[in-house]
């Protein structure tokens, strides 16, 4: 019994590995840029850039502490992205960056403020070197209370994944 079971397991693993390799190697397959896990319909949800671009796009010009001049940031609203992922009963959004920076964003920020998940700066895609490809941006210039550390630290760049809690 035992040798037979072991054989079958090995065979399955080989097939799965082959599949994964095929997926990873597939040049035509779109590369996901954002993974959404937690309280979503079917976790984890993988979103590629095209999916984000298909959502209604918002665009605004604002200053940030990290640039000397104001820039125009474009991208879908955070709440639209969450809706697309099928997030339900979100209280806190835990966002993680490429450098493993983590921050909690209250879900009501997404609901009440026009927070966007920017993928373009001044009409161009944002490279990693420029804190891309995804950059959560609050409309800082629209309200003075937004220009505080609380909101600056929530404005996460090089966004990699989101966990809905």
């Amino acid at each position: 019994m035992a040798p037979q079971f072991t054989r079958r397991l090995l065979a399955g693993a080989t097939v799965a590995l082959a599949c994964c390799a095929a997926l990873a190697q597939g040049a035509s397959a779109p590369r996901p840029v954002l993974e959404i896990s937690g309280k979503v319909a079917a976790p984890p949800v993988q979103l590629d850039m095209a999916a984000l671009q298909r959502l209604p796009q918002q665009s605004f010009k604002t200053n940030t502490p990290w640039t000397r001049e104001p820039h125009t940031y474009s991208g879908p609203l955070l709440r639209d992205v969450l809706a697309l992922a099928g997030a339900k009963g979100a209280v806190t959004i835990k966002a993680v960056a490429l450098n493993d920076y983590q921050i909690s964003i209250p879900a009501e920020d997404a609901a009440k403020l026009d927070v966007i998940v920017a993928h373009q700066i001044d009409g161009k895609a944002i490279p990693v070197r420029e804190r891309g490809p995804l950059f959560v941006i609050y409309p800082f210039d629209s309200a003075p209370e937004l220009r505080s550390t609380r909101y600056y630290e929530r404005s996460i760049w090089q966004l990699k994944s989101i966990r809905i809690e």
């Binding site: 990693v128 550390t149 090089q158």
Partner: protein, 851 residues
């Protein structure tokens, strides 16, 4: 002084402290303004993120080095995908280092400059390496070596940045500490200021308390002094009151006896002496009254009456009374009352007269020749009386001293004219009490002008003023008077005065007797002295008020020399009807008796009139009535006709008015204002008809111009008796009758007089007629005059009752009764047979009155 200097120093110190505080606050404001940018939250955030940026950079640097080291190991094809990702992330951190404003303060330190140079080299090499599609492992190793070389620079920068940040924070803390110390200093300054202010308030409070205490002590002293002064003043007033009492009792004796002395047919020389004595007594009385007035005014006890008064009449009266004095000194006294002066005003007639008398008598005194003018005007609600004379005048100094007490204008004048000098002061006080003033202007040798102003308000004429005055002036009919006085002179005086008025009296010596008499006797009024041994006047009054039956309601007049209001109050409380001041003068007493008996509170006296009428007609010689009665009914003013007309019309109000008018006329005749008439004198016969007879004849002639019977009224809707012609007819009839009967009655009167004889008349008449009759009893002429007057008094009283009945709202149905009564009176006067007395009509009249 020391305290004051200390306070000044303290104030200066406080001012300096305040200046300092203001300066400090200003400095703080400037600092705040300059610190403004630091306070910007964004700036603070940038500073706060310095360490995050630096450490984030160092961490990424290490991770990149790790990945690169992993890629450099091994022998297979070089896979730089992970290393490239880490490199991209590191590149983003480098970019942040170079571009973020937060790091600006660090850009000048050598570690930063060294690091930036190193990183340039590194990125150039790395970019070239990652750009190659198939990089050689050796190149990767070279990059790793470069990276390792730079690690020390990265660590140095991190340390330097940490130190710099700490230094920055330290700086900020320093600024904060500085601010805190400034704020602390300012707070301390404010505390100091508050303490100083508190100290100031406290010292001020203490000073105020001290001042208040001083003031209270002073006020206490003042109060004590005032009380002492008040007490002294009260003592003085009491002394004056007592003195007035003590003075007036003997004084009454003096005046009374002088009056009696005048009636004893003295010789011319004696008469002169008596007159002088009376004048002296009068003057003394004036002085006494002045002194009492002053003390009463001073004590605030003078209360002005507010009664309607006829100002025009008042002025005429004053002039009439002063004219004699003026004339005696060869002066003219003129009166000019402006038309602007209202006829009726409210005020105190007695006091206004007092002031005017004072001013006019002064003017007369000090004017050797010329004119004295009393001008009366009204402007702005103030009545101005101006007394102008052409006398000796005064200089400035005299004028200045004029109103001061006990100071005459001129001391030599004082001796010459004799006066206490109180008159002007009293007058001025009275004027001020009337809301006006009294001022004087004068030119030496040219004369003086005294201006007396009073705030007298215009008022409506009293509705029945004429009637009321007539009533007041009504001479009393014979009354039964109970007199109680312990002083024999006073008793004698009062007895004489009452007798001269035709009243009956009973004398007694003290209160107990008075109460006993009041209980058992039948009196109309009681006259009582207050000060009596045993039961005094007030106690006796209380005892009488406590009696059973009508005696308890007897009008009681008390006599007192005490003018103090307290006495009056006690008297009122005891139930006294009125107070009379000693010495009592005849007219005053008459008025008071009249008011007491006819006043609204007087008890009804049914039948009194009729019984007296009956008695009178039995006793009187018919002759006695002829003169005054004829005069009365022969009056061409047609008052009687008016009364008849009113009776016919049955209008109570008109009846009352007419009755009052007629009564006034009767009173006038009765009071002796009629000319002498001597019915039996041969001289008189030789002179022809006397004046009243002439008047009647003239009236008769005049009336013959009218038809005997007036034609009926042209307007039937008009009340027939209101037609003047009808009235004239009534008057005609009356006058015709009077004239006709006059002739008859003269004979009858003469006959009766002869039959009865003078002596007989005298005996019977005595109780009614009084002293005058007694003294001159043998003079029939005077007796007759007297009897006539008494009779007319009775008529007047009857008329007054008619008026009262009508005035008291008796309906028109009563008119017949009234007319009947009037008719009966006529029957008494003009009996069918020309006889006056013993008529059955009188009895009927009495019966009617009882109804």
């Amino acid at each position: 002084m020391k305290g004051l200097a200390g306070r000044t120093r303290l104030l200066v110190f406080l001012a300096m402290l305040s200046m300092l505080a203001v300066l400090g606050a200003a400095v703080m404001s400037v600092v705040k303004v300059r610190e403004g940018p630091f306070a910007d939250p964004r700036q603070v955030n940038w500073r706060d993120s310095v360490s995050g940026l630096v450490f984030g950079f160092e961490r990424e640097y290490s991770r990149f080095r790790g990945e690169l080291a992993a890629a450099a190991r091994g022998n297979g094809p070089v896979d730089l995908r992970d290393a490239q990702m880490r490199y991209e992330i590191l590149a983003s951190r480098i970019q942040l280092l170079e571009s973020t404003g937060s790091l600006d303060p660090l850009r000048n330190i050598s570690e930063y400059l060294t690091l930036v140079a190193r990183l340039r080299e590194l990125t150039t090499t790395a970019d070239a390496l990652f750009a190659q599609p198939a990089p050689q492992r050796a190149k990767v190793r070279a990059l790793l070596a470069l990276t390792d070389e730079s690690t020390s620079d990265v660590q140095s920068f991190t340390r330097a940045a940490t130190v710099a940040t700490a230094y920055l924070v330290e700086q900020q803390f320093g600024a904060l500490r500085q601010q805190a110390s400034v704020i602390g200093a300012l707070a301390a300054l404010q505390l100091l200021l508050a303490a100083a202010a508190g100290y100031l308030v406290w010292t001020q409070r203490r000073q105020e308390a001290a001042a208040r205490e001083q003031l209270e002590t002073l006020a206490d002293e003042l109060r004590t002094a005032t009380h002492a002064a008040d007490a002294a003043n009260r003592t003085k007033s009491q002394f004056l009151a007592n003195m007035s009492h003590e003075l007036r009792t003997p004084f009454q004796g003096v005046t009374g006896m002088l009056q009696l002395l005048e009636q004893t047919q003295p010789t011319a020389a004696q008469q002169d002496l008596i007159r002088t004595a009376r004048e002296s007594a009068d003057h003394l009385l004036t002085l006494l009254n002045d002194v009492l007035d002053v003390s009463a005014i001073e004590a605030g006890r003078v209360v002005l009456e507010e009664q309607p008064l006829n100002l025009h009449r008042l002025c005429r009266d004053v002039r009439q009374l002063m004219r004699g004095q003026a004339f005696a000194r060869g002066l003219r006294l003129e009166l000019a009352v402006s038309s602007s002066v209202p006829k009726w005003v409210t005020g105190d007639a007695t006091r206004i007269k007092q002031v005017l008398f004072n001013l006019l008598s002064n003017a007369i005194k000090f004017t050797p020749s010329g004119v004295i003018t009393l001008t009366v005007q009204k402007a702005h609600g103030v009545v101005t009386f101006q007394v102008t004379d052409t006398g000796i005048g005064m200089d400035e100094a005299t004028l200045a001293r004029l109103f001061r007490r006990f100071e005459m204008g001129d001391e030599t004048l004082s001796r010459r004219f004799g006066d206490a000098g109180l008159g002007l002061e009293i007058s001025r006080s009275l004027a001020r009490m009337m809301g006006g003033n009294l001022v004087a202007q004068s030119t030496l040798g040219k004369g003086s002008i005294f201006t007396f102003t009073a705030n007298l308000l215009r008022c409506q004429a009293p509705v029945e003023a004429g009637a009321a005055n007539a009533l007041a002036a009504l001479p009393e009919h014979a009354l039964d008077v109970l007199v109680a006085d312990d002083h024999p002179i006073n008793r004698k005086y009062l007895a004489l005065v009452l007798a001269s008025m035709g009243h009956r009296y009973v004398l007694c010596e003290d209160g107990l007797q008075a109460v006993e008499h009041a209980r058992t006797g039948q009196f109309d009024v009681v006259l009582m002295d207050i000060h009596m041994p045993g039961l005094d006047g007030l106690q006796a009054t209380e005892a009488i008020r406590a009696l059973d039956g009508p005696a308890a309601r007897l009008p009681i007049l008390v006599l007192t020399a005490d003018v103090m209001p307290a006495t009056r109050e006690r008297a009122t409380a005891a139930g006294v009807t009125a107070c009379l001041h000693k010495p009592v003068q005849g007219p005053q007493l008459a008025e008071a008796l009249n008011a007491a008996v006819n006043g609204p509170d007087a008890p009804p006296r049914p039948g009194a009139l009729s019984s007296r009428f009956n008695a009178l007609s039995k006793e009187l010689p018919a002759q006695a009535l002829a003169g005054p009665v004829d005069m009365f009914f022969g009056d061409e003013s047609r008052t009687l006709a008016d009364l008849h007309a009113a009776l016919d019309a049955g209008e109570p109000r008109r009846i009352a008015l007419a009755a009052h008018k007629l009564q006034g006329s009767a009173a006038c005749w009765a009071s002796g204002a009629w000319p002498s008439w001597r019915p039996t004198s041969k001289k008189a016969k030789a002179r022809g008809p006397t004046r009243p007879a002439r008047r009647i004849r003239r009236a008769g002639c005049w009336t013959t111009r009218w038809p005997k019977r007036a034609p009926p009224c042209r307007r039937p809707d008009q009340a027939p008796k209101r037609c003047p012609r009808e009235q004239a007819c009534a008057a005609n009839k009356l006058l015709d009758g009077a004239r006709h009967r006059l002739v008859h009655r003269r004979h009858a009167l003469q006959r009766v007089a002869r039959q009865r004889g003078v002596v007989h008349v005298q005996r019977h008449v005595h109780p009614l007629a009084g002293a005058g009759a007694q003294t001159h009893g043998d003079r029939a002429e005077d007796l007759q005059r007297l009897h006539g007057r008494v009779f007319l008094r009775v008529v007047a009283t009857g008329l007054a009752q008619v008026g009262k009945l009508a005035g008291h709202g008796q309906r028109a149905a009563q008119a017949d009764h009234l007319r009947q009564r009037m008719g009966l009176h006529h029957a008494q006067l003009f009996g069918r047979h020309g006889h006056l007395h013993r008529g059955g009509g009188i009895g009927a009249g009495a019966a009617l009155e009882h109804r």
